[in-house]
């Protein structure tokens, strides 16, 4: 190793070791708890630090509960809620980002600031605001009550939870979408129009392929935290009827005496997200190759 490389390695070392100890090792610890044993009297998890002695009995039990038992509903619900929230977020977020990037004109800076603002407002403050509005005596409930709508929004309503997820995460979608759309070379779209493409054709053949990678990245950026969310659900519903995977993890890790189940669910969630992520990486690299061709 030459002198320069030694300097760079010395600079990188503290941070790299930090991540090794407090990021990589904890993941190993999760596996050791998940594949460890359980104290027969206190039911507490006893981690098994040697991978050769890992036991997969409890993991299989949880897995069969996911495929054909009580946990199946939780998994299905999590996926349905997140996918619905993503679709609604895109339906609102894409036009907003598109307008901001293409047509905002002189008012762009003002609009941009107003759209960035919720990004900086604490997540729990935004949920608190809605809990106040949706509670039976809240402004929103009283307002829709004038039209004869009587609905208990905060008691296990899937609509509230899905819209809560949309409200919570949409700022994190709009900004990267805007950044992607703003950077696109719109002259290519104009060229397509000049060559006779209709606006819809230009959108499909030129805009979509150009924006695809950025849009997919933005989608991933909100999908990952949504899959692990439990507090939105807790604040807006706290009912077993709307329970998601994150709520189960929170429950088993924090308030039950079976942290082993929590560790197993953490591994399952990570695996699920890893599969989704590698699928995304593969599809974007294919997009890149197609464009080169």
């Amino acid at each position: 190793m030459n002198k320069a490389a030694r300097l760079w390695a010395a600079l990188a070392a503290p941070g790299a070791f930090w991540l090794l100890f407090f990021f990589a090792v904890p993941f190993y610890a999760v596996a050791c708890v998940a594949f460890g044993t359980v104290d027969p009297i206190f039911r507490d998890a006893i981690p098994q630090w040697n991978p050769l002695n890992w036991s997969f009995g409890e993991f299989n039990a949880v897995f069969s509960s996911v495929t054909s038992g009580p946990l199946r509903g939780v998994f299905v619900r999590t996926i349905v809620y997140v996918v619905s929230a993503m679709i609604i977020s895109f339906a609102i977020g894409f036009p907003v980002a598109y307008y901001l990037a293409r047509h905002a004109g002189k008012r762009r800076m003002l609009l941009l600031l107003l759209i960035i603002a919720p990004f900086w407002v604490n997540y729990l403050m935004r949920m608190l605001a809605w809990v106040n509005l949706l509670s039976p005596s809240g402004l929103f409930s009283r307002f829709v009550g004038m039209f004869g709508v009587q609905y208990n929004w905060l008691d296990g309503s899937p609509i509230t939870v899905i819209l809560g997820l949309v409200y919570g995460y949409i700022p994190f979608l709009i900004l990267p979408l805007y950044a992607t759309l703003e950077r696109l070379d719109w002259r290519l779209v104009e060229a397509a129009r000049d060559l006779g493409a209709t606006s819809r054709q230009a959108f499909r053949v030129v805009t979509v392929p150009m924006a695809k990678a950025g849009v997919a990245a933005a989608a991933i950026l909100i999908a990952l935290p949504m899959f692990g969310d439990y507090y939105t659900n807790d604040l807006l519903s706290r009912s077993p009827k709307t329970e998601m995977l994150g709520n189960q993890i929170d429950y088993y890790i924090n308030s039950s005496s079976q942290p082993q189940r929590g560790a197993i669910l953490v591994i399952m969630l990570s695996t699920l997200l890893l599969v989704a992520l590698s699928w995304y990486l593969r599809s974007t690299s294919r997009v890149g190759k197609e464009r080169v061709r």
Binding site: G15, L20, F22, P26, Y98, M127, S199, G228, Y231, N254
Partner: protein, 290 residues
């Protein structure tokens, strides 16, 4: 443009203003209700500062547990910021210049936290601190370590973007003029890195003061309760408008930090003749380019 698409573009401003109203008005209403004279967070009884400081026991500035939460939040955010910025700065410079397998490994390891849901990190660290590194007690020490771990990658991203835009020519010039590698780093590169250091300070402070999941998983009861934890635990009960006031304070703190950051950065850019000004300062802090 055809008439159809013109009409579509005309519908967009309505949508965008509708979105802005929907995203901001509920929060503004919550802020207004912190000035409610009544005990309710939903029924307006007239304007007063009762829940800010009027009430001698239950207002934000007199309620001991709320004051404790504010102090805890500020201490946690400031300490994390001071530890993680130098750590991430060194890691960014080192990993940017390293070559070969070790560089790939380090860069891979720094990008994983960016795509890991917080609940996974929180749960993993809780299991680690209770079963493996049991010398680290839950509460402030664990919360500090957890927040540093989760935000170090953000600092690396910010600093690395700056390193790419600076390039290596300044350091090479310094080396040609006889500086050692370390001197080139210290006197040619470091002064140019200031904007990314300030951006890291501000972003980390704002992220940590707003953090809920990791801080909650690693807390040890009331003594280590931060403002977001306090909001979470009292939203559903019959909390008074003092809770709205507490949340308003949190939002005001974040906004102050970020405003100082934006104006500081755009001032720096202007003074050093860099382009972009206000808008680049804004995008530095919102990490739009990620």
């Amino acid at each position: 443009m055809t008439s159809v698409s013109t009409r579509r573009v005309k519908a967009l401003p309505i949508l965008i203003w509708g979105y802005i109203t929907w995203s901001l008005v509920p929060v503004i209403i919550a802020v207004i209700y912190s000035f409610n004279d009544g005990r309710s967070r939903t029924v307006w009884k007239g304007f007063s500062f009762r829940w800010w400081f009027g009430d001698k026991y239950a207002s934000v500035f007199h309620d001991d547990s709320m004051r404790q939460a504010i102090v805890n939040s500020l201490v946690l955010a400031t300490t994390t910021m001071l530890i993680v910025t130098p750590l991430g700065l060194a890691l960014a410079i080192g990993s940017h210049r390293l070559k070969g397998k070790s560089a790939t490994a380090v860069q891979g390891m720094t990008s994983v936290p960016l795509i890991t849901p917080e609940i996974v990190v929180g749960a993993a660290l809780l299991l680690t601190f209770t079963r493996l590194f049991s010398g680290i007690p839950l509460g402030f020490p664990a919360q500090l370590l957890g927040n540093v771990t989760f935000s170090v990658s953000a600092v690396v991203v910010i600093v690395r973007a700056r390193l790419v835009s600076i390039g290596s020519s300044f350091e090479e010039a310094a080396r040609d003029l006889g500086a050692t590698r370390f001197q080139a780093l210290r006197y040619a590169l470091m002064p140019l890195l200031w904007p990314s250091i300030v951006a890291s300070f501000v972003v980390v402070f704002a992220t940590v003061i707003d953090d809920f999941v990791i801080t909650s998983f690693l807390s040890a009861g009331v003594e280590s309760e931060t403002v977001p934890l306090r909001i979470y635990s009292s939203v559903k009960g019959g909390a008074t408008p003092a809770l709205n006031a507490l949340a308003t304070l949190l939002v005001a703190t974040t906004f102050t930090a970020l405003t100082i950051g934006v104006f500081g950065l755009s001032f720096w850019r202007k003074r050093h003749g860099e382009q972009g000004g206000f808008k680049s300062a804004l995008s530095d802090l919102t990490r739009m380019g990620e």
